[in-house]
C-alpha cells in the first residue's frame, strides 16, 4: 500500500496517459530554480486540496479534476506567489511561477 505523500516535484505522469487533468510547472527566483519550497493546489474558496515539495529544478505536478484552481507557492524567506489555472482531462496545464 502506498501512502498519500508526494515525492519532491510530484509524481511522474505515465507516458501516453490522457485520462488525467495535470497541472504542472516550475518555480524560480531571480532567474534560478527554487528547489526548497512547496506548491499548494487550492480549490474553490481557496480550499486546500494538495501540496507537493518542489523538485530540484523547482518543478511540481498535480493530478487535478476539470475546473479552475489556484496554485500557491511558498518558499523560504517569506516568498510566495499565486496563479489561477484551468485544468481538464487529457490536458497538461503548465504554469511558470516567479517568487
Amino acid at each position: 500500500m502506498s501512502g498519500c505523500g508526494a515525492p519532491a516535484g510530484g509524481f511522474e505522469q505515465k507516458p501516453g496517459d490522457t485520462s488525467q487533468a495535470v497541472v504542472e510547472g516550475t518555480v524560480s527566483h531571480g532567474g534560478a530554480p527554487v528547489s526548497t519550497g512547496y506548491a499548494r493546489l487550492l480549490g474553490t474558496g481557496d480550499e486546500f486540496v494538495a501540496e507537493v515539495p518542489l523538485g530540484s529544478d523547482g518543478e511540481f505536478r498535480f493530478f487535478a479534476a476539470p475546473g479552475s484552481w489556484t496554485v500557491r507557492v511558498l518558499a523560504p524567506g517569506g516568498l510566495s506567489a499565486e496563479h489561477v489555472v484551468t485544468a481538464d482531462y487529457g490536458q497538461v496545464t503548465k504554469v511558470t511561477v516567479t517568487v
Binding site: 500500500m1 502506498s2 501512502g3 498519500c4 505523500g5 508526494a6 515525492p7 519532491a8 510530484g10 509524481f11 505522469q13 505515465k14 496517459d17 485520462s19 488525467q20 526548497t36 519550497g37 512547496y38 499548494r40 493546489l41 480549490g43 480550499e47 486546500f48 486540496v49 494538495a50 501540496e51 507537493v52 515539495p53 505536478r61 498535480f62 493530478f63 487535478a64 479534476a65 511558498l74 518558499a75 523560504p76 524567506g77
Partner: protein
C-alpha cells in the same frame, strides 16, 4: 494531555540537538528527503520500509517495533520528537504507533519539516550514531485503533470524521490531487461521516491551529458531538492520524480512534453502505 505535553516548536528542537535523553526522528514516506538534508542529530525512519509489514497489509508488530527502536538507539525513557514532510502526516502516524505501543514521552515538532525549511534552519547530511538499546514495547493499545467491523457498527452512532478533501469525500476523486487517479476501489464516503479535511487543522506553514480554532472547527462548524466517541479515517490512515492527534492529544477528547484501514479498505469491502455527494 495538553499542547505543551505533545508539541514542541522549532526553537525547542534547535536547543535540544545532541541533548542526552532526546531522540529526534524524521519520518517520511519519501525517505530521500532525509538523505538530502535533515535536522542535525535526527534519526531516519522510512514509513514504508520500517513501519509497514512487508507481506500483510498491517503495520509492524510489537517485536518489529522493539527491533526498530532498539536499532535506532532509542530507550524507553527517551523523549522522542517526531517530524516529517507532508505537514507531519507520517510523523503523526508514527506518533500514533508510539502511543499504541506505550511510549510515554513522544512529541511532534509543530510544523514539521516544512516549517523548518521555510524558516531556513540548518539541515545536515551527517548521519548520527547511537548505541543499540533493548527497547521493550507494550501490547498494542486497542483503545486507539478502529478495525472495519467496529467502523461499520459505528455508522449513525459515533462521530465518523472523514478527513480527506471534499472531492474525495464526494466521490469525484479517489486519491489526493497530487497522486495519479488510478485506484480501483469504489469512491464515496462512509454514511453519516462528517467531512473535515485534515488541512483545516493546520496553518499554511504546517503548524497546528490554536485549540480555540480547532474546537470551533470540529464542534461548531462540523457539528461533532464531543460527548460521543469518534473514529477518524482517510485513504490509508496517515492524514487521519494527523486528525487523531488533534482530537485526542491537543483537544484531549477521551475516546478517539484512528481507522488505519481507511477508504482503501472500506471502499473495497463487498456489501457495505457507501454514500456519495457533498457533505451535509
Amino acid at each position: 494531555m495538553s499542547r505543551s505535553d505533545v508539541l514542541v516548536d522549532a526553537d525547542w528542537v534547535e536547543s535540544h540537538i545532541g541533548t542526552p535523553g532526546v531522540a529526534i526522528v524524521e519520518v517520511d514516506e519519501d525517505a530521500s528527503a532525509y538523505d538530502k538534508g535533515h535536522i542535525p542529530s535526527a534519526l531516519k525512519v522510512d514509513w514504508k520500509k520500517d513501519l509497514q509489514d512487508p507481506v500483510r497489509r498491517d503495520f509492524v508488530d510489537k517485536t518489529g517495533f522493539e527491533n526498530l527502536l532498539s536499532g535506532l538507539g532509542i530507550s524507553n525513557d527517551d523523549t522522542v520528537v517526531l517530524y516529517g514532510g507532508n505537514n507531519n502526516w507520517f510523523a503523526a502516524y508514527a506518533y500514533w504507533y508510539f502511543r499504541l505501543y506505550g511510549h510515554s514521552d513522544v512529541k511532534l515538532l509543530d510544523g514539521g519539516r516544512k516549517k523548518w525549511e521555510l524558516d531556513s534552519r540548518e539541515l545536515t547530511t551527517d548521519v548520527p550514531r547511537r548505541d543499540r538499546t533493548s527497547y521493550v514495547a507494550s501490547e498494542q493499545d486497542a483503545a486507539l485503533r478502529a478495525l472495519r467491523d467496529e467502523v461499520i457498527a459505528a455508522i449513525g452512532k459515533r462521530n465518523l470524521v472523514d478527513v480527506r478533501s471534499p472531492d474525495e469525500f464526494a466521490g469525484r476523486l479517489l486519491a489526493p490531487a497530487h497522486l495519479p487517479q488510478e485506484q480501483a476501489q469504489r469512491a464515496g464516503h462512509i454514511p453519516t461521516a462528517r467531512n473535515v479535511p485534515w488541512s483545516k487543522a493546520a496553518n499554511e506553514d504546517g503548524t497546528f491551529r490554536s485549540d480555540d480554532e480547532l474546537r470551533q472547527l470540529y464542534q461548531d462548524e462540523a457539528g461533532l458531538d464531543f460527548g460521543k466517541d469518534t473514529i477518524a479515517y482517510c485513504r490509508i490512515g496517515e492524514r487521519s492520524a494527523h486528525t487523531w492527534f488533534v482530537l485526542h492529544e491537543l483537544l484531549d477528547q477521551p475516546n478517539v480512534k484512528n481507522y488505519d484501514g481507511s477508504w482503501t479498505e472500506y471502499g473495497s469491502l463487498v456489501g457495505v453502505p457507501i454514500e456519495l455527494g457533498e457533505a451535509r
